[in-house]
Symmetry: C2
Subunit: 216 residues, 2 copies
């Protein structure tokens, strides 16, 4: 597509000079890749379409061919983010021990690893001004959520968690993770405390949601 000329440029090879081909070829993918890179460290509101266009050596209006507006690019980033998060969680759970506490810790750690390494992206994923027709994002978000619910259900089956709707327990666990990510990313607490926080949260969760055995 972008390589191996079929006679364009009438006899001269474009790469021989610094001439860019008129068509970038993979602009959409390149924009997403560059945007995600820009998102590391900076916030989403500092992401400029024109900036990306400049970086990719393309005119300021070119991105519009692939994303109707700025928000569309952000939505696409969020959607891709959920896919990456899902992959990371699945990988972590696949590599984890079989016993429930270990699996919970593995999932929590993997989530927070993703959340702290992709702070701005995470923010985008969850605050992406859900405009009326943002079904794709909601759809993409279901995968990680389902994973968490499966984990909870598994814990209940093993008798490690009290019975009941998995969502009821799962949402609070998810909220705690989200909150930890938030206070780390917001520099409220030092990143060094992350492991400590995860361990405390895991213990509280496992103790707080286990079945009632005799005493109150």
């Amino acid at each position: 597509m972008l390589s191996t000329n079929t006679f364009r440029y009438r006899g001269t090879v474009p790469s021989a000079t610094d001439e860019r081909p008129y068509h970038h070829g993979k602009l959409r993918a390149a924009l997403l890749e560059a945007a995600e890179r820009h998102l590391r460290g900076r916030g989403a509101d500092e992401l400029s379409l024109r900036d990306l266009a400049r970086e990719l050596g393309v005119s300021h209006a070119a991105p519009r061919r692939h994303f109707a507006d700025r928000q569309a690019l952000l939505d696409a980033l969020a959607e891709a983010g959920f896919a990456r998060l899902d992959t990371a969680l699945r990988a972590a759970l696949a590599a984890a021990e079989a016993d429930f506490p270990a699996r919970v810790r593995a999932a929590m750690t993997a989530y927070l690893r993703f959340a702290t390494e992709n702070a701005a992206l995470l923010d985008l994923m969850y605050t992406s001004k859900h405009r009326p027709g943002a079904t794709r994002i909601g759809k993409a978000a279901e995968a990680p959520f389902g994973l968490m619910n499966d984990l909870i259900a598994q814990g209940q089956a093993q008798g490690a968690l009290e019975p009941g709707a998995p969502e009821r327990i799962g949402i609070v666990l998810f909220a705690t993770l989200q909150g930890i990510a938030s206070i780390i990313n917001g520099s409220i607490v030092k990143p060094e405390l992350l492991d400590d926080l995860v361990e405390t949260a895991a213990q509280q969760f496992l103790r707080g949601a286990r079945p009632l055995t005799g005493n109150s």
Copy 2:
């Protein structure tokens, strides 16, 4: 310019006509008030200084006399937000029963009430790009934090919580609150579930952080 005669006011009260006085008089306070109002529903990034100026019937450059730049206004909003949050929490705790579980629920409810009613403001308070010299915000944030720690310490004194550094336990509780606020404000879960979530989180916290009595 907009007033023709140079002799305006000379013995007449300005409010008698619709002429605005050259000096607004309380521009800073009015800006903060208007900004906070604009923040309800919309996000902080949609807050425009020029918009505020227009609304207050003042020139587009006037706000600059009171806030060096946009971020300075946002910082001031965040600072005021922490003060309001502190007030709300203190009021809730003052009105609460003496027993620890009731006080925890009161604090959690008050926090989440503030958080959901001031979504954009809360976001501002915790993501306000902490620029190097943002000491004022950090200072303002300490009050609510101290309150939470006091509550934890009180629970420990009553034997309702395991001993240890209050922060260690408190941070996780705070994170959970923050996370619940985040998923409600981000429309991940329906607002109607808020009370349910609070109750579940409270139960898990009280059970998960209480002293170990005999069994593991």
